[in-house]
C-alpha cells in the first residue's frame, strides 16, 4: 500500500484511504450484523433436527402407533371380558403401556409436522430391507396389515369367546402381535436418526420379548400352544 501511495500520485492516496475506510466500514457493518444476529439467536431456539418425511423415525412412529393401537383394542376386550385376574392384569399392563407409548410417538409426529399415519395407506416402506427375510410367507396374504396384526374376523372371534377360550385366544393373538412388531422395533432401534426414537424402539423390543415369554408360559399353562 505504501509503495502504491508513493509510486502513484495525488489521487491514489485518497483512493487508498477511501479503500481502507470502506474496508473498515464493511467490517464494522459485518460485525454489527453478527452482533445483532447473536442477539436474535439468544433465546436458544435451536430446533433439533426434524426427521425427513421418508425417514425411519417418522415411518416407525406412524406404523408402530397403528400396530400398538390394535394391541390396545385386543387388550381392552380381554380386560373387559376375561374373568381371570392374571389375564386382566396383563391386559391392563399392555393397554396402559402401549397407549402411553402411542402418546409419545404421536407427540413426536405432531412436533415434526408429520401425519399420524402413513398417508398412502402402505406400511413399513421405511424399512428398506423390509421384512422379506422374516415371515414373508405368512404376511403375503395379509393385504395392508402389518406383521402380527389380527384380521377383522380374528378380532370378531376374540369378542365372541369367553372363559378360558377367550384367555387363550387373547394370549395367542397378542403373542403373535408382539412377535410381528419386533422386526419393526429392531429396525428402528438400529436405524432411526433421533436418539429418543432408538431408545424407545430398543426398549419395546426388550420388554415385549420378555412379555412374550410370559405369555407363552400362560398359554402352556392352559394346555394350548401358540398360533402356528
Amino acid at each position: 500500500m505504501t509503495s502504491e501511495d508513493t509510486g502513484r500520485q495525488p489521487r491514489s492516496g485518497t483512493t487508498a484511504t477511501r479503500a481502507v475506510v470502506l474496508a473498515v466500514a464493511v467490517v464494522a457493518v459485518l460485525l454489527l450484523g453478527a452482533a445483532v444476529g447473536l442477539l436474535i439467536k439468544l433465546p436458544g431456539s435451536d430446533s433439533a433436527g426434524t426427521p425427513g418425511k421418508d425417514s425411519v423415525d417418522i415411518g416407525f412412529a406412524q406404523d408402530m402407533a397403528v400396530h400398538h393401537l390394535q394391541g390396545i383394542t385386543m387388550a381392552n376386550t380381554a380386560r373387559d371380558k376375561s374373568t381371570n385376574p392374571a389375564i386382566r392384569q396383563l391386559a391392563f399392563d399392555i393397554e396402559s403401556t402401549q397407549l402411553e407409548q402411542v402418546g409419545r410417538m404421536k407427540g413426536w409426529l405432531t412436533l415434526w409436522g408429520a401425519p399420524e399415519q402413513s398417508t398412502d395407506g402402505t406400511h413399513m416402506k421405511w424399512m428398506t430391507s423390509s421384512s422379506h427375510d422374516h415371515s414373508s410367507s405368512s404376511d403375503a396374504g395379509r393385504a395392508g396389515l402389518m406383521p402380527g396384526m389380527a384380521t377383522s374376523e380374528e378380532l370378531a372371534k376374540l369378542r365372541s369367546l369367553s372363559g378360558t377360550d377367550l384367555d387363550v385366544y387373547f394370549l395367542q393373538l397378542m403373542l403373535r402381535h408382539h412377535q410381528g412388531g419386533a422386526p419393526m422395533a429392531e429396525y428402528a432401534a438400529r436405524h432411526a436418526g433421533v436418539p429418543v426414537v432408538r431408545t424407545l424402539a430398543d426398549n419395546m423390543l426388550k420388554s415385549q420379548s420378555s412379555e412374550g415369554q410370559y405369555m407363552k408360559q400362560l398359554i402352556t399353562e392352559r394346555g394350548a400352544a401358540p398360533l402356528p
Binding site: 473498515v24 460485525l31 447473536l38 439468544l42 403401556t97 426388550k206 420378555s210 410370559y214
Partner: protein, 273 residues
C-alpha cells in the same frame, strides 16, 4: 460528530492542495471515532450476549446434571453411594410365592405379576416386597424407611417427596439396616437422614429415566392391587421354597419346566401371607 463534520469539510475543501504535499497530514479522526464507536457497540453486544449465554449455560448445566439425557443417561453415576446391579426384567411369581431376593430392600429381580400402585402413594404399613419391586420395573422410585428410626418431622419430609408425586411411593421397611433406603430399578441408595441432598438427586436421576427402567410407558395405576388393603410385608426370611433370583415364570418356560433344585427340598413352614 462536530469534529467529523469539520474534518469532512476540511477534507473536501483541501482535496486538491492535499494531494501534492500531504502524505502524512491530518488523520480522519471522524472516521476513527466512528469506527471505535461501532467497535465499542459490537463489543458491548458481544459481551452482553456472551454473559447471557454463559449464564444460561450455567443454569442449564446445573439442571442438566440430574436430568437424564442422551449425553447423561444415568445421572446417578455422579451420586456418591449409589449401588447398581443389572437385573433381568419381566419375571413373575404367584401371589402365594416368595422370592429369595439378593438385596434388602431389593431393587430388581422376579416379582409379583401385580405391581404396587405407585401413583404417589404413602403406604402407612409395610407392603409385600414382591409387589413393590414390580413398580420399580415400571419406572417408580420407592422410598423405604426403618419405622424404628424415622418418624415425626423426618418422616413428613420424606412423605412429601412421594405423596402425590407420580411414579413415587414410600413405605416402612421393618429391619432396614439404615434409616432410609431409596430404590429404583437396578439402583439403590441408603442414607442416614431425610435432609440428605442425595435423596432428591436420586429421584431426579432415576424416576422414569427412559435409559434405566425396563418398561417405558408402563403404568403406576394398578387394577389388581388393592391400594387400601395391600398384601402385607412378611418379616420372616423366605423359606427354601422361595423363587431364586434367576427364577420366575419366564425361566421355567425356558428350562422346559424342570423344577429348580430347591423345590426338591422339604417345604419349610412358611408364614402365611
Amino acid at each position: 460528530m462536530t469534529s467529523g463534520k469539520k474534518t469532512k469539510a476540511t477534507r473536501s475543501s483541501v482535496a486538491a492542495a492535499r494531494s501534492s504535499v500531504v502524505a502524512n497530514k491530518p488523520k480522519p479522526w471522524g472516521t476513527i471515532v466512528a469506527v471505535i464507536a461501532v467497535l465499542a457497540l459490537a463489543v458491548t453486544v458481544f459481551g452482553y450476549a456472551y454473559s447471557q449465554i454463559s449464564d444460561k449455560n450455567q443454569r442449564e448445566a446445573a439442571l442438566a446434571k440430574w436430568n437424564p439425557s442422551e449425553e447423561n443417561k444415568d445421572p446417578s453415576d455422579q451420586i456418591q453411594g449409589v449401588v447398581k446391579k443389572e437385573y433381568k426384567a419381566g419375571k413373575h411369581v404367584q401371589p402365594t410365592q416368595r422370592v429369595g431376593y439378593d438385596q434388602s430392600p431389593p431393587f430388581g429381580g422376579p416379582h409379583d405379576g401385580a405391581w404396587a400402585n405407585c401413583t404417589g402413594i404413602a403406604y402407612p404399613k409395610a407392603v409385600r416386597t414382591e409387589n413393590m419391586v414390580h413398580s420399580l420395573e415400571h419406572g417408580a422410585v420407592w422410598i423405604a424407611y426403618n419405622p424404628d428410626q424415622i418418624s415425626g418431622e423426618p418422616l413428613d419430609k420424606l412423605t412429601k417427596k412421594a405423596e402425590g408425586q407420580q411414579y413415587t411411593m414410600i413405605s416402612p421397611y421393618p429391619g432396614l439396616d439404615k434409616p432410609i433406603s431409596l430404590q429404583a430399578w437396578g439402583h439403590q441408595l441408603k442414607v442416614e437422614n431425610a435432609d440428605d441432598e442425595r435423596i432428591d438427586q436420586f429421584i431426579q436421576s432415576l424416576r422414569r429415566n427412559q435409559y434405566t427402567y425396563p418398561e417405558i410407558g408402563a403404568a403406576c395405576d394398578s387394577t389388581t392391587f388393592d391400594v387400601d388393603n395391600p398384601p402385607p410385608f412378611v418379616t420372616d426370611a423366605p423359606g427354601a421354597d422361595a423363587v431364586p433370583m434367576d427364577g420366575g415364570v419366564e425361566d421355567q418356560a425356558e428350562t422346559g419346566g424342570t423344577p429348580p433344585a430347591t423345590d426338591a427340598a422339604p417345604p419349610v413352614t412358611q408364614p402365611s401371607s
